[in-house]
């Protein structure tokens, strides 16, 4: 059974001082419902920080009620920063499952939401680290940024890559986000200004790291053959796969190997019967440059150690397939953790429908990769246009 994306909705990623986590989720949910004109049988919320940042749980019931939806099945999915893509993965499994016919579940609204700006700077450092071991890392003051930094130095040393060269990835993201209305940043930065920005955790500078922001993104998925959005190109989920690895990257025999992402892409390509060369555009978990590079290599778009020279030579810009992060990725569009995976899926959907703010003509297949920690959990979706 194939699953279609029948509606999309999102908020601008920003510091939404006047909006709560519920306000944000309702905004994106309403848009997606209105675009699809479908009444969902199930509502799944992807979220990581509601307990910590908003003192709120039971998001499924609360958000569904505010959307005017009662009598449905609703719950929250949490898997750190890939909660959004994981929620879509679970929804896709339910809709494409063999026993769907008896379950009565034909359409699911999936909302990813994260409210981060209510937290103080030091609370935020802890918040983004909650997916890592409390007992053996957070307790000692070691957070996500430090782990990204330790990984980045290993990557740079292993492949002899400079900090300046890694800055080409953030520069590309910011260039692509200029025309994206819902992006947190609509401005370009030079490679030099990124590399010379203040150090947060050496070798990482402020402009290497994806920013903190509030946001919500939602999709309506349906297994019904004809969706109601007849004026839009029909976008279908060709494959949805998830895989995990050790939570600590430094416990892996090869510390630069993203085992989860490698397994995931292998499953995704086999399920969809798609070749890498068929893929027109990609969204990856580009949270800091060395992670971006290692993901592109794990997916097979670049050879090991060559993603940086590839981006410098223009392989991933808007004149060359596969197009990378066409609305700025995590770095420039923004990274409201659990909403991010759904922003990625919406960017690909809208590109395939020729509705993206940064539209590229003639795209047919796109891939999104969302992950938690340093490849502790990875989720990949391949989307395609159905003619």
């Amino acid at each position: 059974m194939s699953v279609n994306i029948a509606g999309t909705g999102l908020t601008k990623i920003s510091e939404h001082w006047s909006k709560s986590i519920i306000d944000l989720a309702v905004m994106s949910g309403r848009q997606a419902l209105s675009e699809s004109d479908i009444s969902p049988d199930m509502i799944i919320i992807g979220n990581m920080l509601s307990s910590y940042a908003s003192n709120q749980e039971n998001l499924g019931s609360i958000i569904s009620e505010k959307l005017g939806l009662q009598g449905t099945t609703t719950f929250k999915i949490e898997s750190s920063s890939c909660s959004g893509a994981m929620a879509v993965h679970i929804a896709n499994n339910i809709l494409s499952g063999k026993d769907r016919g008896t379950s009565g579940i034909n359409s699911i609204l999936v909302i990813g939401v994260e409210k981060m700006s209510d937290l103080s700077p030091s609370q935020l450092v802890q918040a983004i680290s909650l997916g890592e071991s409390y007992e053996y890392l957070q307790f000692f003051g070691v957070g996500m940024t430090s782990l990204y930094a330790l990984f980045s130095r290993l990557y740079m040393d292993h492949y002899n890559i400079s900090k300046d060269d890694l800055s080409y990835f953030p520069a590309l993201s910011h260039k692509n986000s200029v025309s994206c209305k819902h992006a947190q940043f609509n401005r370009e930065f030079s490679v030099e200004s990124i590399s010379k920005s203040p150090i947060i955790s050496s070798p990482l500078s402020l402009l290497d790291c994806s920013p903190i922001g509030d946001g919500s993104a939602a999709v309506v998925l349906t297994a019904l053959e004809s969706s109601n959005n007849s004026d839009s190109t029909n976008v279908k989920i060709l494959s949805s796969s998830a895989s995990n690895s050790t939570v600590n990257f430094f416990e892996r025999s090869d510390m630069l190997k993203f085992y989860a992402t490698e397994q995931c892409i292998s499953k995704a390509l086999s399920e969809s019967q798609i070749k890498l060369s068929d893929i027109d555009l990609i969204e990856v978990h580009d949270v800091v440059p060395a992670i971006t590079a290692n993901i592109l290599e794990s997916l097979g778009f670049s050879k090991p150690g060559k993603a940086v020279s590839d981006v410098i030579s223009g392989k991933y810009n808007l004149n060359s397939r596969p197009f990378l992060s066409t609305s700025g990725g995590l770095k420039a569009r923004g990274n409201p953790l659990s909403a991010t995976g759904i922003y990625q899926i919406i960017e690909i959907t809208r590109q395939l429908q020729n509705k993206s703010d940064n539209n590229i003509n003639n795209t047919h297949i796109g891939l999104s990769q969302n992950m938690s920690g340093i490849d502790s959990n990875s989720v990949i979706h391949i989307l395609g246009v159905v003619n």
């Binding site: 700077p121 030091s122 609370q123 450092v125 802890q126 680290s129 071991s133 007992e135 053996y136 890392l137 957070q138 307790f139 000692f140 003051g141 070691v142 957070g143 940024t145 430090s146 782990l147 930094a149 330790l150 990984f151 130095r153 290993l154 040393d157 203040p198 150090i199 947060i200 955790s201 050496s202 070798p203 990482l204 430094f250 416990e251």
Partner: protein, 131 residues
């Protein structure tokens, strides 16, 4: 918080991890099953104190502290490979920022990690310094 600290005090004071008596692989943090030989015999997993010495294999100097570590900034943090091959992340103390390099030898020291408040409980644990 106090109870969870009491529960892990040996792990924090002496870096107590695990050894698989089946294949002799060592682990820190402690494990429930052996990922090296896939031994499912729980009785083969025993507590084991990790070596106190190792080398730095990656490092960072952190300027954005987590709550409770504001006084430690700039905080030197390293990925350390202990002499038995087990890797862990720890703060490096008693050295200047420029002294940290990949390949340098480090050894375990017992230090204050943080405190609950000015008059509250103080938590101790492992850190490392160059030798």
């Amino acid at each position: 918080m106090s109870i969870s600290y009491w529960r892990t005090r040996d792990r924090y004071y002496r870096i107590i991890g695990s050894i698989c008596e089946n294949c002799k692989s060592e682990f820190f943090p402690p494990v429930y099953t052996c990922s090296k030989c896939d031994s499912t015999d729980k009785s083969k997993i025993k507590d084991k104190e990790m070596p106190s010495k190792g080398i730095i294999i990656s490092y960072t100097v952190l300027y954005e502290p987590m709550q409770g570590f504001e006084n430690e900034i700039p905080m030197q943090i390293a990925l350390i490979q202990l002499n038995n091959g087990v890797r862990l992340v720890s703060q490096i103390v008693d050295c200047k920022i420029n002294d940290i390099e990949i390949g340098k030898k480090v050894k375990r020291v017992f230090r204050r990690i943080k405190s609950e408040s000015k008059s509250g409980q103080i938590w101790y644990g492992y850190k490392f310094r160059l030798y």
